[in-house]
Symmetry: D5
Subunit: 116 residues, 10 copies
Amino acid sequence: MDTNKNIETFPNPSPNRRYIIEHINSEFTSVCPITGLPDFGVITVRYIPNEVCIELKSLKYYFLEFRNKGIFYEELTNKILDDLVAISDPLEMEIVSQWSTRGGMNSVIKAKHIKQ
Amino acid sequence: MDTNKNIETFPNPSPNRRYIIEHINSEFTSVCPITGLPDFGVITVRYIPNEVCIELKSLKYYFLEFRNKGIFYEELTNKILDDLVAISDPLEMEIVSQWSTRGGMNSVIKAKHIKQ
Amino acid sequence: MDTNKNIETFPNPSPNRRYIIEHINSEFTSVCPITGLPDFGVITVRYIPNEVCIELKSLKYYFLEFRNKGIFYEELTNKILDDLVAISDPLEMEIVSQWSTRGGMNSVIKAKHIKQ
Amino acid sequence: MDTNKNIETFPNPSPNRRYIIEHINSEFTSVCPITGLPDFGVITVRYIPNEVCIELKSLKYYFLEFRNKGIFYEELTNKILDDLVAISDPLEMEIVSQWSTRGGMNSVIKAKHIKQ
Amino acid sequence: MDTNKNIETFPNPSPNRRYIIEHINSEFTSVCPITGLPDFGVITVRYIPNEVCIELKSLKYYFLEFRNKGIFYEELTNKILDDLVAISDPLEMEIVSQWSTRGGMNSVIKAKHIKQ
Amino acid sequence: MDTNKNIETFPNPSPNRRYIIEHINSEFTSVCPITGLPDFGVITVRYIPNEVCIELKSLKYYFLEFRNKGIFYEELTNKILDDLVAISDPLEMEIVSQWSTRGGMNSVIKAKHIKQ
Amino acid sequence: MDTNKNIETFPNPSPNRRYIIEHINSEFTSVCPITGLPDFGVITVRYIPNEVCIELKSLKYYFLEFRNKGIFYEELTNKILDDLVAISDPLEMEIVSQWSTRGGMNSVIKAKHIKQ
Amino acid sequence: MDTNKNIETFPNPSPNRRYIIEHINSEFTSVCPITGLPDFGVITVRYIPNEVCIELKSLKYYFLEFRNKGIFYEELTNKILDDLVAISDPLEMEIVSQWSTRGGMNSVIKAKHIKQ
Amino acid sequence: MDTNKNIETFPNPSPNRRYIIEHINSEFTSVCPITGLPDFGVITVRYIPNEVCIELKSLKYYFLEFRNKGIFYEELTNKILDDLVAISDPLEMEIVSQWSTRGGMNSVIKAKHIKQ
Amino acid sequence: MDTNKNIETFPNPSPNRRYIIEHINSEFTSVCPITGLPDFGVITVRYIPNEVCIELKSLKYYFLEFRNKGIFYEELTNKILDDLVAISDPLEMEIVSQWSTRGGMNSVIKAKHIKQ
């Protein structure tokens, strides 16, 4: 599973200003690696761009690649952060994944990267 | 596209006090430069005035000039900030643009200016 | 695509009383047959049982079979109604499918069967 | 399991007027007879009293008897209706049970009795 | 407890038209006759006036008389209906009392009068 | 107080079809004739036009004439209905006035006219 | 302005069953013919198909043609109903347009067609 | 317009403790000085009292004096802050005015005073 | 009025950990000392316990003692804080009282104690 | 009552990044040790993992062990924190328990652990 090659970027139109971009995908779905049943979630990508911004349509297709992949919540959230950091080198980036109810429980995972 | 000439200002009635003015336009629409389809958003202008305040009716007409213009979210948000800073020289100003769903995704852009 | 064979039923515990059973699946997803992109919806099954009730777990697996199938909203809603009527012969049954935003539009389809 | 003996009643204070009494228990829990896991629900009792009204505290204790009993949604809803009709002989009574999410699905069962 | 003497009325300004008047008291409180603890509720008075309308301020004072009285939900709802019908002789009148949570349960009582 | 002269109308663009027009004024205010204090309300005008429709801007100015007038809820609601029926002769018209809290109570008045 | 030529249809997949299709466009905008300022609304198309269904993408493009057209609420609602009835000959169709606040007022127009 | 004379105060019952008092007026209305049309707003007064507290009823009458005065949002918010600081000399005070929709835009003004 | 004698406490089960306890009473009522009319509020008690915790049932009875007492908002909030601090000597404690609408205005009072 | 033995863990997939995991159990129930009546709550577990993460299914079974145990809110919240810290040694962990209404009051307890 090598999903990050397909994410496109474009030049940041205001590279001299620290500003925040947020994309919220309310239609994320992947598969539980234990039961094989689908998981449904809302994935938020919040970042301060450096030299490039993430192109929205390719981000959507990147998310679609998880549709039939088996992956745990914690690993998935960190992988999305790693992939998007690798492709866009942001000043800061946070990924939040919020999951629908399983066995009466809701889970939320939040991971953050700050450029050194 | 040289929209900032039409924004009017009036003297700040309390120039000795740092206070916050916020105008929220829930009826903003522009056009996607790739597909030619309309985008719909909510634009928030939040600022601490310096010597002048932005006149509300001319601000509304300023926003209307984007109705049939093709422009990306990130560029638009930074352009509105640049235009309003140029015209009113505020102590601080923040622009937030929140966009309606496209392909299952919602985007929010936040850009801030602090007077040096 | 012959999905209805897997739905299980159990004897109606109160066959002499007309009463209403409603199952709401908030995690339905199928695929748009034109674009190949996923659709997301909420499917409500509301019925008055006759001799049998629909078993909940098998209903969930029935819905999962649409995950990677390409099908239109109108056809899907009518197919679910046809499948569930064929398997459970209810006195009345209504299927409602509510779909997430596409191009700024939300769609809802409602189909009803009354036993003759 | 013979729960209906403990429900107390008191004389209807306005026996000549058809009026509606509704008690909504937001803290109902029973056990799934297949998995042994708890189910959580909201049970609404809505009735037009005849000669007696159902005493609220004894109704609460009646519901508590299901806490560790294994029973299906459909059977439970009809049993509550049967028990409360037997004890209070109402002119009309409706039981609605709304269940928390299981496997992405919510269920609602509605059963009604009209005195002949 | 003879509360109905204090409710004032005034002539219906449109006696030839059947129209609906609704007064919702969100700050009703009385006392449970068993525990002596306060009950809190929302009381709705909905009626079609005949020759007189109920004066709002005196209605408020009428409700205040229950503040430290012990009375059951069912009896209270019917008593309010009886009192207001006696004083105003409406074409139709409905009283709805909605009570705050007690032991995990909420109660609602609805009683209606139609002039013969 | 003779407010109805100022309401303008325009020809119904679809006089052969019974359809519904609804205007909701969330910024209505008048004055309590007893205390002299302002009342605040939401006024809904819902009607099926006959030969003419009510012009929106003149309706707004009609409502403004009540700003400093003392009038009771019941009388006001019926007067608005009388005025708008007189000026537009609708097939059906309903006026609903919903009032903000006074002494813990909210009031709603609904009056309806059907053309004979 | 002759917009209805561009709406496409497809054969009703269940022509023997009366069922309901609803499309809700939350991103409608047209222009006020008096002030030249944009109006924003939510347009709901609810219908029972006869031999054909309305194709969703072409419906979206049909709505886009109003973006810079000047038209009143009442005329627009009836025109959309006329256009969609002409193109799809439904058994029943209802159009609801809900408009954003203008001068403190919100308007809603509802028009319905039933096939003779 | 010399409104601040009518606001009454009473001694702070806990002068040795810094604590917060907040009064929210949801029924404020004034007049736009340009159009002469009414403005509607919610005014929040939040302060830490010094030696005196502001009496609630006189505050209400103070707000009523703006009912038919023409004044801009920014000026009004600063004037209320100046008036209430002058009369009560608080340790801290913040005024927030939130205004209803005008031309698709909502405005919020926030001004704060800290005692030197 | 010497209410604090009746509040019971129990030993803090985790005295070595700073943690937060919050009790929210949505059914508080007292009496306005000027008009004699009842006031309704929500009282929040939020504290970090020291050696003892406040027993919930006795806290409820403590609040009930205000039911027919006349007391101003500001004084009441500070008195509750003083009483509960005296009885339980917390590391920190905050009292928030939120009051229902009076004359179109809502009030909130917040007082905090930090152990020296 | 020795519940913590059954909680399983798995290796943290990103041990070099401080990130937040949150599990919200909306279906928690235990028993009041005084009255023997059930309590209902929402338990939130929020932590920054160290070397291991808590396995979700075993956490659910851990919560189920409280179903028929008598325990106070304060003790329960601290016990869950102690148990989960013992089993997973997190960098930080916070437990929040929010309880349904008892006698008109809602309680919330928040306890936090930071690894030394």
